[in-house]
């Protein structure tokens, strides 16, 4: 699955435990991989694959105490669905995914650990189970962000879990792993 993840990023200009600071935007580019979205007993697997990723993240820091502060994350992604059955491969069309999560960030400069809960909306251009056309799934993620050098460059690693189900089937988890480098403004 070719994923281009777009998220608006905002970081506090002062990352050392000051009171509420303005949001900061940033972007990152990297790769994303996902575990299969579905396995059908008749042989079909619905999956995404390794893909280039473009991300812009926005976090809205609120008044905080110490190194722990609440954050909100919004992210968008677009990519392709891949289908396979006993050696046959075919396209499932395009998948758009939008994430909205809230959580908390712990700052231990140059490291940032973020945990968040929320939902992900998945929209497919073709009717493909378990997405049909549009499906909203609960999501949870954890991210590690490291500032690189003295410039506002960051390296990011995010693990996201979704829970999907299909009509007549059994629900299950899908994991998405995103890694990239970017810059904060």
């Amino acid at each position: 699955m070719a994923l281009a993840t777009l998220a608006l990023a905002a970081h506090s200009a002062d990352l050392r435990g000051q009171d509420a600071a303005p949001a900061v935007t940033g972007w990152a580019i990297g790769v994303a991989v996902s575990t299969p979205l579905l396995a059908d007993g008749n042989g079909t697997r619905v999956r995404s694959g390794v893909a280039p990723m473009l991300a812009a993240r926005m976090e809205l820091p609120w008044p905080h105490t110490g190194r722990l502060r609440p954050v909100a994350v919004a992210r968008g992604a677009v990519g392709a669905l891949q289908l396979g059955d006993r050696g046959e491969r075919w396209s499932g069309g395009t998948l758009w995914q939008g994430d909205l999560l809230v959580g908390a960030a712990w700052e231990g400069a140059p490291l940032f650990l973020i945990g968040a809960l929320g939902g992900s909306m998945l929209h497919a251009s073709r009717r493909v189970t378990p997405l049909e056309r549009t499906r909203v799934a609960p999501a949870a993620e954890a991210a590690l962000r490291v500032r690189i050098g003295s410039q506002p460059w960051v390296a990011e690693l995010t693990v996201q879990g979704l829970r999907l189900s299909a009509p007549g089937g059994s629900p299950g988890g899908v994991a998405r792993f995103m890694a990239g480098v970017g810059r904060a403004f």
């Binding site: 575990t35 059908d40 073709r126 007549g168």
Partner: protein, 205 residues
Amino acid sequence: MPTVPAESPAYDPTRLTGGVVYRWALGVAVAIHVDTTGQDALGVDLREAAARGLEAWRPTWRYAELRPRLVASAADADVVIQLADAPPLVQLAGCASGIAGAAGRTVLCAAGDTARTLPLLAPGDPGRVKVAVELDGHAVSGASHAVTLLDALVAHELGHVLGIGGHSPLPTDLMYAAPAVARPSQRDAATLRYVLHQPGGFRLR
């Protein structure tokens, strides 16, 4: 990960093909040409009936396995549909009698693990037609509900085109030999979904 259980066919989809499965390669676009010659005398619109039939079948597959579409020219088609009384568009010589029902016939021929091309009779490019459908217009002409009968007939033959090489024993199913309904039942849908993922047999394209 999320799972969906395996599905069995509601009836034998190979009963009229001697136990041989046939289907389209997964994900290919299947081009269908509808020849409208002779439809005016019947007061029907074959192309519209085919469009309704495809829309009736479309919700039955789950993974974009099939992408059927109507095309204007037989030269661009994988499937041709026409009235039995109309001048034939393709050469059927050498093919078996096909999958025959009360008022229609679907013809396709295996050539090893693929389907044989049924050459166009018009001079020039022989085309790439793999399946030919003939409809008996007399079965619907004059009926007060000719459109409904035609819809049932066309949708039934489309079921054969898509991969169901057999008939259901239940009259509530579209694939009953003399269809009385114009939309596939859950049984028809399960049978087609089963066929689409069977190995072996031969591929139409």
